[in-house]
Amino acid sequence: MLKSLITASAVLVMAAPVYASKARMASLQNAASVTDTYSIFDNPAKSYLMGDFATLEMGATTTSKTGVNTPENVITNGNVAGITLYSPDAEGGFVKSYGDSKIGFYMGKRSAFTARMRDLAGFAGQENPIEVMYAFQAADLKMGASLNYSKSEPKAANRQKQDAMGLRFGAIGTNWDASFVMGLGSNATGKDGSTVTTGVNTLADKDATYKGTTGFKLAGGYWFDKLYVFANYYQDGAKLESTVNGNMKVEIAQSQYEVGVLDTMKADGMNFFYGVSYIGFTSKAKDVAGPAPAVPVIENAFTQEQTQLPFIMGVEADATSWMTLRASVKQNVILGSTKPNTGDSTTNIDNNTTVALGAGMKFNKFTLDSTLAAGSVPGTAGSGAIDANNLMANASLTYMF
């Protein structure tokens, strides 16, 4: 049935832009040189790099997970064994032009840091988040800003109240881009029995509090002909207080920098890229107070130093007039060390070669994007199998106006 539909569509559908969705970015290792509908969450001004669109990411309604697009480079904790931080959540929105300006509205998008940190510590994730975006241009300079907001107060037994808010600013020129993302607050209170799944330790009881500390991300990139050089720095953190195991307090502070370069080669309907970046990540548990044995557990769980030199390579090309295929690989090379816990010695990065595959099927102005279940995407180990039960995952539908 599906095969027949695909065969038939090959005859009929027209080529469309390949801007797509989370699945596309995951299939291309979230390469910094790739522009996508999802790029507006790093830099709202990048909405000018594509046409107007409406996009729908399919998946379940959840509160504590982030989507497959969460960049692997954003490391929030090294001790996450047994915890699933990714799921293909439902989210979607649109960006439309009004004169020279662009206005966007998006629902369901969550902060990667907030979602991960709260999930690890047993606090509720962002509920019903919304994002409003506005972008405008002046000559060759395009600028954009967006505000995201989420607040909920269930007032039921074992349920938490939470809020989160943030701002994004971005600008792009003819061969450069820059962005600044800033958190304006992130709070959660009380225990939610249904979401306490932490493998670290249960911090959140009914009197527990989560307060985000100063968080921001500064990023920029520059095109030297076909060479894209980029850098970014983020820091984020949270103060956690709990009466579990006595009066525990801890402040988590994390920061990460990344500098990298990507060489790109573009031809009709094809984009090939490869490059490396150097990443330095630090997570610290500060001002820890409370009784043993909980304190060492918390300290170890949120203490880590890591450096990486990941090499990525990817290709995206029109396979037919109605289908785009994409594939990528990522692996740490030569340099890389990790010191996962307090008192541990520094070791090399574990084997981490991943290959991701994806496809985008064009139906007139629609694009149905997905990852191929055979490959590895965040949160899923590649099976190598393509069959009736392992075909496409993380599906999304995007309409380019």
Partner: protein
Amino acid sequence: MKKLLVLAAVTLASTSAFATKARLSSLSGSRQLTDVQTIFVNPADLNLMGTWATFETGATNNATGGNTPATTSEKAGPFAEAGFARTMGDARWGFYVGHTGVATATRLQAAKSAGVNIGNTTSFPIEANPLNLFYASKTGDISWGLGLNYSNNDYKTATGKQSAMGLTGGMRMGAVDASLGLGLTDTAQFGTNAGETKWTGKSSADLRGGYAMDAWYFFGQYAMGGGKAENGGNTQADIENSNINVGFVNSTKVDGGEFFWGASYAMETKNDKKADKVETTNLPFVMGIEADAASWLVLRGSITQTVLLSSTKTTPQPPATAGDTATWDNNTKVAAGAGIKFNKFTLDASLAAQTSGNINGTDLLTNAGLTYNF
């Protein structure tokens, strides 16, 4: 099958987008839409369509087969239903079977309040073998329509008996549309002799109106209903429901389709005088798109989510104290579907991926419906 599909893709012509439950579900039931399914609210919508026959696939929705758990007020679908509409001069008439309405929904709500399962001999039978009749015509600039729904059966066993009947009327005139649905009878009972439990529905009404102004559509709705369940003179459930909904939708025409977004404010009260009174408010935002993906394929999708305002408050009956006013849970929901045209047939379905993100041999299409446009 494969050859048929490929040939169809090349040869078939574009048909009307009017379709089925799957289509409305994929578009989050946005209020500006007209569809075969909207004639149950406003029969005047028959005048907007040609002649058609539609078939919703699913299990038989009978009173003894559902066994809906007591924890839900909705039966798990999809259920089988079908109907057709024909022209008669300038008028239209239609006949439909299997479509249940507010009577079934309220009985399920009562069963949930009482904590008993529906669809067996321990609770009320739902509407069985229901039928709907429609007639629509035009008088001057006014397009109007009437509908009648009816269901009556007596199992002559402990399963009991039930009866439900209602009338709907609707009109469209230029940019204005309005409709009124009235429940005329709604009774049910199960058990025998001293163990007999009776359900008596209260007067129900569903008044709706809308006004289209360029790309904008403004709408409002007031609905009320309820009923009482009694056993041996003792009231088990005494339900009064009311619902007010006002909102707007902005629609933009795109190639072979429509893109829309909008918001509404809904205030709902479900009061069971023998249990809880639940008052909710909600401000859901909706965005959706439906467009031709190929000459033989329509794709559609939508997203809904509560934004900024929402509240829910449950007040137990005295002497218990009222609960706090709380916000709604996370409810971001993406729906997606496809309509595949085969000449004058349209096979509509939801994409199973809408809740899992997966597309494979066991997760492809669901809630399938087949419509033939004459």
